[in-house]
Point group: C2
Chain length 342, copies 2
């Protein structure tokens, strides 16, 4: 007769001269329910502790169909905004016994699909996704297959999903008003043309504010696909230098970075001629000269809400028709020297 590996249920059963079933029941806390005697429970638990037994999670997953792994897919995991959320997600997930696979889709559909396909049929329990523009159908498929999905930061208007985000239009509207209140009259808005909700909403907010105040709409919409980082920067440079503007409002963090580089490269004083405002805050904006006013998203709160939703989806029976929840969090405006000139 073959000796079973010690560190397995079989090994335990053999050693204690009982069946694997009993061991399994005890380990899964079903002892009472399955009428295992107290002495037996004691015996098993003691031995398990003695050999420091840990169940093989692969076997467990294979049998139960649950891998205890969730995917966290974002545009770019090295981006501070996403990395911060990832950090928090990680904490919550590990605490709840889940592991997290992080991945970056570069906001490209092909990459998103490739990744989703990689994980699909691969026993991943759920997805937290920052979706690229054209993967609505793929997301839809996941949902139809009853796989837990939570989107964040951006969504698909005609697809009902679980979602966590902020009210981009309102935040943007208020931020633009802030510029206007501080005397800026020719406000340029620099954004990208991915057509994604978060960007569209930010533009809408900007437009609403300038229109209401009879100011011109001055939008630079950069083609996301075309050109590299440097080429995009030249577009921004050209826009800043040649349009007649007194303030610039960047719709997202990496555009801000390009923009600030432009100012720095051209002349130290140039930036003081403009009001500067950006979506997404960063610690460095507090030490930049001038300090940069920013709209901050509640990163920690987003992470908590994302995991909240994910965990409750994971708990649900796979058949139960659930109503999808959209959670809209409050953003906050941090006015700094770049918009408040003394």
């Amino acid at each position: 007769m073959k000796k079973a590996k010690k560190n397995s249920i079989k090994g335990i059963a053999e050693k204690l001269n009982i069946s694997v079933t009993t061991v399994s029941f005890v380990l899964n806390g079903k002892a009472k329910e399955k009428k295992i005697s107290d002495e037996m429970i004691e015996k098993v638990l003691a031995y398990v502790k003695e050999i420091n037994y840990k169940p093989n999670q692969l076997a467990q997953s294979l049998r139960t169909g649950k891998s205890k792994i969730i995917v966290f897919m974002v545009e770019d995991i090295s981006n501070y905004f996403f990395a911060s959320i990832a950090r928090k997600i990680e904490d919550i997930a590990y605490e709840k016994g889940y592991k997290v696979l992080f991945c970056s889709n570069e906001n490209k559909d092909a990459k998103s699909r490739e990744l989703i396909n990689l994980f699909k049929d691969r026993q991943v329990d759920g997805y937290i996704i920052n979706p690229s523009p054209g993967i609505k159908n793929d997301i839809e498929e996941l949902i139809e297959q009853d796989i837990p999905v939570v989107l964040f930061d951006r969504y698909f208007p005609d697809l009902e999903t679980n979602y966590v985000g902020i009210n981009n239009e309102e935040a943007s509207y208020k931020a633009t008003l802030h510029l206007i209140e501080n005397g800026f009259k020719k406000i340029g808005f620099i954004t990208i043309n991915t057509g994604q909700t978060q960007m569209l909403d930010r533009k809408k907010g900007y437009q609403k504010a300038v229109n209401e105040n009879n100011m011109p709409e001055k939008v630079l919409e950069i083609d996301f696909e075309a050109g590299n980082y440097l080429q995009q920067k030249e577009l921004i440079r050209n826009y800043i230098l040649n349009q007649d503007l007194d303030a610039i409002y960047f719709s997202t963090n990496y555009l801000t970075q390009s923009g600030l580089e432009v100012f720095k490269e051209n002349s130290p004083e140039l930036i003081d001629k403009f009001g500067i405002l950006t979506f997404d805050d960063h610690d460095f904006f507090k030490i930049h000269t001038p300090t940069i006013s920013a709209i901050a998203q509640p990163k920690n709160e987003m992470a908590s809400q994302l995991m909240n939703q994910m965990l409750s989806l994971l708990k649900k029976e796979s058949g139960s028709k659930d109503d999808k929840k959209q959670i809209i969090l409050e953003s906050s405006l941090h006015p700094r020297n770049s918009t408040i000139r003394k």
Copy 2:
């Protein structure tokens, strides 16, 4: 007779009226070796494609003992330095069919152990670790158990491991010389007291340079464990304001951030009285006023080398006594306005 699930090897075998063994051989590219006929290969492959079959990786892993998952454990995944490396690791890993579990140990031993224990006996194929100060034994155990481990950024002097890093002492020495060459004579060095190699080496490099030039050693060593972020910042503030210094050299990025905040908070011109140098580069240093001189570690190269080593360890037979490789990469100094005053 029970119908096997279609999307399984069994289902395929049933449908094609052949054995699962044959299907498995074909799918694993062992067809030739196992003398499967070309028509059979054709038949299987065609059907597999038709139903878009993907093997269940859990089952595969359970049988083979390989999970195709590696752990990437760093101090803080939201830190730009680590996040950038993570991004690159991710790319290489997915390309090679591996998935990556990211986690942060906060440079604390308890957290490191907790995480390692979580993964140990849990079928993780390998670890890339940025180790906290006191987990030498845990690392040693992993290695003894023939589990692939690659350390980076810091190591344990008396434990031979696979490792990727830079020559911190030399980089620091050169950087300090750069300060000296630019006329700074009272150079303060701000670091933390974790006792880890990367920090010790950076201090050594600094000390060597100032000693060789008959300048005073002025080191502020902050207690890593004690106090929160704000309290540490006050220590830095006190040091900058009250020591008689003409240059400050920060040994790592988050100290730099605190330091720059101190300058900003105290007075706009204060920073111009000092030469500023930092370990670890960041895009924002190029737009800071003044631009900040920095020692840049080759993040992409580090990531590639880490994965290189990891992949070759994973390929090795678990018995084969391998010589552990230490890879030391070149760092580069980026002199900017904070050390070069016109």
